[in-house]
Amino acid sequence: MSLSTVETLSSRTTGSQDASIVSIAKKNARVSRYMVSPSVLVLLLWMIVPLSMTIYFSLIRYNLLYPGENEFVGFENYEFFLTDEGFFAGMGNTLLLVGFTLLITVVLGVLISVLVNKAFWGRGIVRVMLISPFFIMPTVNALVWKNLLLHPVSGVFAAVWTFFGAEPIDWFTHYPLTAIIMIVSWQWLPFAILILMTALQSLDQEQQEAARLDGAGPWALFYHITLPHLARPIAVVVMIETIFLLSIFAEIFTTTGGGPGYETTNLAYLIYSQALLQFDVGLASAGGLIAVLLANIAAFFLVRMIGKNLTEA
């Protein structure tokens, strides 16, 4: 019991039969504080400890192969990281991967979710099939695509190409990044569909009917009613996908290992290879912080939007 509670109590106990019953509101406030603190505490640790270690490592020379030489080097690691040819490749690949995946998932996501928003036979099953890839683990996804679908000899794509008289493509040799984009898009398109499909269900029926009475055709309806309604959910999809796509790792790890050369190395994979394959902790930490910075740009807008949502609710 805090001191202030004791004081207020003693000034009021006259006539109170049960002084042990502390003001319920105060008790609740205290209980609620205890209840939030474990979550806050562990997350605070999770955020502050490793992040400050990353910052510290990024400023020193630190290679696990040469222990003991840990002098302060200022921004040397950042300089190395930013001027390394791997960084340009990694940055470029990250942007291509994120950009194209976003484009594919959002455009197809909008079209497909509008399509299945209409009533037709077996809609429930169709929806289940559409969202399924999202629940497939990334390593399975990558290997199924690499071996069963995109294999230049026995893959399904090769068979389709042959059927139409074309030469089968060796995707992972000639278009490795395209292959990765296909894999990742297949995984994240269902996410877009799931979110947009749900958002469409809250589209005001009366508003659509009013527009139809005003003489709006299907295209006008889509353009003036549906699309504006989807603006917010699309923004949510873009930002959440951005955060996750910036860190795509398992799909590259299991298919190309970043190669050939740097052709499929993104920032996440680059940092991983510097840390756990080349053991250059300092350099990897500098890269890690740059990745954090990038993700924060997307996160900034997302948090602001969710925060706004919170006040509206």
Binding site: N28, V31, S32, M35, V36, S39, L43, W46, P50, L51, M53, T54, F57, I112, L115, V116, K118, G122, V126, R127, I131, S132, P133, F134, F135, I136, M137, P138, T139, V140, N141, L143, V144, L148, L149, S154, V156, A158, A159, W186, F191, T198, S202, I240, L246, F249, A268, Y272, A275, L276, S285, A291, L294, A295, L302, V303, M305, I306, L310, T311
Partner: protein, 282 residues
Amino acid sequence: MINSNILSLKNSRRLNTLIIGVFAWTVALLIFFPILWMILTSFKTEIDAFATPPQLFFTPTLENYALINERSDYFHFAWNSVVVSFGSTIIGMLIAVPAAYSMAFFETRRTKSTLLWMLSTKMLPPVGVLVPIYLLFKDFGLLDTRTGLTVIYTLINLPIMVWMAYTYFKEIPKEVLEAARMDGATVAQEIYRVLLPMSKGGLASTVLLSLILSWNEAFWSLNLTASAAAPLTALIASYSSPEGLFWAKLSAVSTLACAPILIFGWISQKQLVRGLSFGAVK
């Protein structure tokens, strides 16, 4: 004349529905095809699986499932997945539910910023903290342990669980809890006898989402485990090595590894949206 108009309207509508249906089914089958193909391949012999052109019709066999443990100890990895996913989900719920309760029903000036801050930790890219976590785990002997992985999964999923539980609790009218308070319920009774039974649907989908995310997680599991604590994601990654040209077996293992989560996802698709979009879409 009026009659024929109505008829044609009806007919054109029916035709429309048919076209939309055919189109939607085609798209859905295309998107679902890789999963279907994986399942089909899991019932082929290794020779059929590798045949050119790929075989759509074949004599199905269960030998891949029978030999599931042959190439590697499947059940060992599956058990790791189960322990780590359920472990992190249980611990996460134990921490998240009280936090969500207190933020939903005892709102203070700080509540909103606390929630947003929690979410922002989820947006930290894992590579940003990979190095220190790896080194810390090495120092504390947590590398390749289920404990270590459980801790990490709890931490990365905690913000989503708090958030999701929070949005479900927010939908419960405050008065019902006040009525319980008037009826003489203690805080614990209020939570166990009123709040939890009232929000069990929402909490169930929170649990499912946490299970799905933990089960499929493939950054920390690949980086922090080798074999002893490696879950299914890591087992399947090991099939990428050149000696792993066992497509039928890969498919069987993958099918088994994905089936439970796929079913969880189907069950709770609608409710998951809330957690996956951090509450921005309901």
